[in-house]
Amino acid sequence: MEMKIRVRSRVMQVVALLAFCTLVWAYAQLEWGLPQGVRRAVVQVRGSIVTEDGSVLARSVGDKRVYPNGPLAGQLLGMMGDTSGLEGLEAAYDSRLSAGQNLTLTIDPAIQAAAEGVLKAAVLEHQAEYGSVVALDTKTGKVLATANYPAFDPNSWRGQDASVRRNRAFLDRFEPGSTIKGLVVAAAIQENLTTPDSVYDTPMSRRIGTRRIGATIHDAVAHPGMLTTTQILRYSSNVGMSHVVEHFPNALLYRYLSQYGFGQDMPLPSVQAATGSLQPLRNWDDVVRTTNAFGQGMSATTLQLAVAYNTLANGGLYVAPRLVIGEGQPQPHEVISAETARTTRELLHKVVSEGIPQAAGIKGYALAGKTGTAQVVVGGRYSDTIYDSVFAGFFPSDRPRVTLAIMVHGAKERYHGSMLAAPIYRDVAAAILSKWAEPPEQPTTEPNP
């Protein structure tokens, strides 16, 4: 009987304890409101798009995507929809950004802002339709700036025309015109087909090809009847270029243009970039070879032109462009020798210092480059009223650090490359040199005009 009482007693104590614990548990449930077995949903914050110096180009604040620098690199960044990226880098790297990872770009905000500001002022002044500028770091191929005008602000993209969102620097194809001459002369020097002092008979026009398939090419800038290769570049003589490439094998010139990147896929992972085009080699004859030598009958983007000129700046090495830190980059390949590249840089320096010092030069600094004025094809024919104003170059010319390419389309006033694209190059170069606080190389004794 005593045992039974003890057991019953113990059972009652346990029951009482359980009842008390149940009370505590129920109270806790009421107090903290935590239903069993339900986890709070974790909301992943979208990654930011930043530059190497830490500037934030795109970030999420709450459920809103904000672009603190407004239209800076707007077309490159693209924009967000309700849940995912719609265009540009927001779309190309949507999965990575959605997983919360940041994207670091090679863009330099100061150079980007300068390029956009200079481009905008020039496009408005010359009443052009649109334009683009690309700046590359010579040694590494990093894209320092990719400016487009009209500008696009991703903060308020709804209602803006699709053409404003277009990253023209990477996508718009155009005939590069006379800017190609610098690259072709380099190839000809490399193949010992010409030297800087080779002299050619250069009337203002010349018939090339056969009687059946031929064309008459003309020069736009008045020049002496005999020109050296150096002067051919300075006067931008198409007739002179026809002599330079007269004995250039078609397949060999085609190969050089391909190695410069023309007609090839742009090796930029994940980012949309147009290819441009070269006429198929089977179509090449004297006319095609000659017209290609001064940049007609082929197309390229502003980015491709910059990367091609970067080959001359970089000792003859083709370096693929880089935009996103951490992405792979193909190995550089040699297109021309370092010696040929150095010779060509000197020729292009003379183009600026002796040909267009006011338009493209800065007193005390060694700049180099080549202008181009390309007629735009409208309805299958070259237009007499619509032109692309183009410039490609690099600086300092003796030890280049930055390569620039500029294209402005449809200017109504002063549309020549030397009047429109060259001053853009000069002013962007001035902004970059000022950012570096680079002292002038030659002492000056009077102020700049």
Partner: protein, 121 residues
């Protein structure tokens, strides 16, 4: 041997005791909760304040970024007539003799001897 009545009385007493203990513990629990009744509202208020401050901080940092953007600085500089350094007028000048350098102090001989004094307490 206990009778049935005695057993029942015993169990009644025990049941009553356990119920009273249970009620006492429940009262203790409720009393503790009552004493801490301000804690949870304060925590919720602090949490709301923290969220609001974080939102303000993000807005302000965005505003700072926008106000100090490169485009803004460049536009301000151009509006105020500044010229990029590379394009600004520069002149060279030969520097004159300038201010004579101060006479340096005579060299002090480097001490080569270290004297240690030990004071014993």
């Amino acid at each position: 041997m206990q009778t049935e009545e005695q057993l029942q009385a015993l169990w009644r007493a025990r049941a009553l005791r356990y119920v009273l203990i249970y009620l006492l513990l429940a009262c203790v629990l409720v009393t503790l909760r009552y004493q801490g009744r301000e804690v949870y509202p304060n925590l919720r208020q602090l949490s709301a304040t923290r969220t609001e401050l974080q939102r303000e901080q993000e807005e302000l940092s965005l505003r700072v970024q926008t106000l100090t953007s490169e485009q803004r600085i460049r536009a301000w500089a151009l509006e105020n007539g500044m010229v990029p350094y590379a394009q600004a007028g520069k002149q060279t000048q030969v520097l004159g003799p300038g201010v004579a350098a101060a006479t340096p102090l005579p060299d002090q001989p480097t001490p080569t001897r270290l004297t240690v004094r030990t004071a014993w307490k």
